[in-house]
């Protein structure tokens, strides 16, 4: 059955964890004294049970067992680059941990053809007291390089990190940015046939992140097999032709990246286009103002996650003013999924500017015009301040999200072009081309 050209074959892989159950509380002095005396026996049973997995077959529904991964099967061809996405707790990291042999599966098996390296976290094994040079060797061997290999690549690694001046200084004197750069430089010079990457791109400054992405792209052109776990949808769609969506420990979808990413965006657990807080204790805010609901409503339609790039979109912020007499400022941030702030918009409605508001429910709506932002996913973080006193009353980070879609009809800024277009904004500009002018002739 096994395909000879597949680099990774995963068959019915499952992994369960046993989590400790909550301890019972003692509600009297006598009880807690008694509990204290018998606690060694109880603790022994508890810690002992944490490693018992023999009974998992019969006790699948036991409340202290969690299946982090359940019956996952897929195969990855040699040279294929596969993105793995899913909400937190979907099993992405567990899958990578099993494939990199950090933890054993409970059932099932995985077959790996070739030398495998994982970048689950860069800088593993760095020791504060050792110099940069010593740490390059230490970290390199930990990541699976041989000493000879490191001798050969040492200069290249130091060059890539850009900290050659401090290479003989103990790492504890480095800034955190320098540490990350050195660590990534070592990791970037691994030459495995299969590379597992988990959120490495989340560290370092913007310039360094760009270098890392370039390195990733280099790797992808060298015919290596890569599994890339990420929360960054543009990075996944750009770097990986194929994506696997995990949900609740199983595979929810597997296929071309752009399809899978939009399935994920429309799935229930992802950030939605509408969010309403029911209980007052959960809603962002204080005793002056409280957020009630935030919605994304494309022009002439219902609330929706997907928005046509040509259409304008309403951002609706609904909130309860609980104390009369304050002047409010309503605003929201728009951030794309690479964390870049696209813009900040402040409520500029003259009707309520500098006017103390009576208590009650308000709805503030703002319209984002069409043909403004490029394709991608955007997060809205609304906030409310009072101006007297000047205090931020609430901010709801990434409260709602929506995805701008450029249907390639030909009348958008794409003008029928189907490739990747860089940039956060994609305005529809006016273009004119004249023909038949003599060269050097004055315009007009």
């Amino acid at each position: 059955m096994k395909n000879t050209s597949s680099a990774i074959t995963v068959e019915n892989l499952s992994k369960c964890y046993r989590i400790g159950l909550k301890e019972e509380m003692n509600d009297s002095i006598v009880k807690s004294l008694f509990g204290f005396i018998k606690s060694p026996i109880k603790n022994y049973r508890r810690y002992r049970s944490l490693y018992k997995f023999d009974d998992t077959e019969s006790e699948v529904e036991s409340p202290d067992i969690i299946w982090a991964l359940k019956d996952v099967s897929f195969s990855v061809k040699e040279g294929e680059i596969v993105g793995i996405i899913g909400v937190n707790g979907a099993g992405k990291s567990t899958l990578l941990k099993i494939l990199s042999r950090i933890t054993d599966p409970t059932h099932g098996q995985a077959t790996i053809r070739g030398k495998i390296s994982s970048l689950l976290e860069v800088g593993t094994g760095f020791h504060q007291e050792l110099t940069g040079r010593e740490n390059v060797y230490l970290n390199g061997t930990i990541l699976g390089m041989k000493k000879k290999e490191l001798d050969r690549k040492f200069d290249e690694i130091v060059d890539f990190s850009g900290i050659d001046k401090f290479i003989d200084t103990p790492v504890k004197r480095y800034s955190s940015g320098m540490k990350v750069r050195l660590a990534f430089a070592v990791a970037a010079h691994l030459e495995p046939e299969i590379l597992l990457i988990d959120e490495v791109l989340a560290v370092g400054d913007a310039e360094f992140q760009r270098r890392c992405l370039n390195k990733m792209e280099d790797v992808s052109h060298q015919g290596r097999t890569v599994l890339f776990v990420s929360h960054s949808m543009p990075a996944v769609t750009r770097l990986c032709p194929r994506t696997i969506l995990l949900n609740g420990g199983g595979i929810a979808a597997d296929g071309p990246s752009h399809q899978i990413v939009s399935i994920y965006m429309n799935s229930e657990k992802a950030t939605k286009a509408e969010r309403t807080w029911s209980g007052t204790d959960q809603a962002p805010g204080d005793d002056v103002v409280r957020l009630y609901s935030v919605r994304v409503r494309p022009e002439g339609g219902e609330v929706a996650e997907a928005v046509d790039i040509r259409k304008s979109t309403a951002i609706e912020i609904e909130y309860d003013v609980l104390q009369s007499g304050y002047v409010f400022m309503i605003y929201f941030h728009v951030v794309n999924d690479e964390g870049v702030e696209v813009f900040l918009s402040i409520d500029n409605d003259n009707a309520w500017r500098d006017k103390p508001r009576p208590a009650g429910r308000y709805l503030s709506t703002s319209w984002i015009p069409g043909n403004l932002m490029s394709e991608g996913i955007f997060f809205i973080s609304p906030g409310i301040r009072t101006l007297n006193p000047n205090i931020r009353r609430l901010k709801a980070e990434d409260a709602v999200a929506f995805q701008i879609i450029d249907s390639q009809d030909g009348d958008t800024a794409r003008a029928g072009f189907t490739g990747n277009i860089a940039g956060i904004v994609r305005p529809l500009l006016k273009w004119e081309t004249e023909f038949g002018l003599r060269s050097g002739s004055p315009l007009a």
Binding site: L50, Y51, I102, D104, G108
Partner: protein
């Protein structure tokens, strides 16, 4: 690329008792070496005395024991000057106690690395055992100076030195394998360690001579592997008759502890990361 060159790894649930995978250990020898080097290099980082501590620590211990047990309590040493008598025992003891406690804590203190990267987990408890040998090598200088001072000349017994060196490393390795694995589940190990060491120092012939043990208890006494090593070092360095009656049972128990420790470690290895 030739298909036969490609390394094939099958990941599946491991079960049961497996012996040490030496092939894998050899494959990861570079990692093993760099971890040992890291341990040695960072041991005395940012200290004024540096490696002098390797000499000072046992030396202070020897002086204290000589004053208390030699001069105050006047423990019998079969006519050997107490200073000489205790120094040849305390230096191997210092090595064994440090290697033991460090090895026992190795998995818990290295959990950050365990959760991020794969390597044979066996490397961790063994690293402590090997890196402490450097300290032992340095502190041997004390013994040489003391031997010179008392005009003790080397005898053919000295040829047995490598044997005791090996047994001396096997004991903390075996105990380290057992305790580091137990410490994963029960952190009590760390709190119990000082008492275990204290018990060991008084049950082994370190401050007193094995000859003071009544004849009928000697077989029971010889099961403690420390007895054989300490008495063996004494015989080999001071040129006394070699007490095989203590050494052979000691070697047997040392090997039993090591092999059972390795088996237990191997069995628990797969759940280390999940439980830690």
């Amino acid at each position: 690329m030739i298909k036969d060159d490609i390394k094939l790894t099958v990941i599946k649930p491991r079960s049961g008792w497996q012996v040490i995978d030496f092939r894998e250990l050899i494959e990861y020898r570079d990692l093993f070496l760099s971890l040992v080097t890291r341990q040695i290099k960072t041991l005395y980082a940012q200290t004024i005395l540096g490696f002098s501590w390797a000499i000072l620590r046992p030396l202070i211990q020897i002086v204290i024991f000589t004053v208390i047990f030699g001069n105050v309590a006047k423990v019998s040493t079969d006519g050997i000057p107490y200073f000489l008598f205790s120094s040849v025992a305390i230096i191997p003891w210092t090595y064994m106690s440090q290697a033991m406690s460090e090895s026992s804590e190795s998995l818990v203190s290295g959990q950050g690395m365990l959760g991020k990267i794969y390597f044979p987990r066996l490397v961790f408890p063994l690293t402590a055992v090997l890196s402490r040998l450097v300290d032992f090598g340095i502190s041997i200088i004390i013994i040489l100076i003391i031997l010179l001072y008392y005009h003790v000349l080397p005898t053919w017994n000295l040829l047995l030195f490598p044997l005791f060196l090996i047994v001396m490393t096997i004991i903390p390795a075996g105990i380290g394998l057992w305790l580091s694995t137990l410490a994963i589940r029960f952190r009590d190990v760390r709190h119990a360690m000082p008492f275990v060491l204290q018990m060991l120092i008084y049950t082994a012939p370190i401050v007193y001579s094995a000859s003071s043990i009544p004849e009928k208890y000697r077989i029971l006494y010889s099961i403690n592997p420390l007895v054989g090593v300490i008495e063996g070092y004494r015989a080999c360095l001071l040129g006394l008759p070699v007490p095989w009656i203590y050494i052979i049972p000691g070697i047997v128990t040392a090997i039993v502890i090591f092999i059972s420790g390795a088996l237990y470690f191997r069995k628990m290895e797969r759940i280390i990361v999940d439980v830690i």
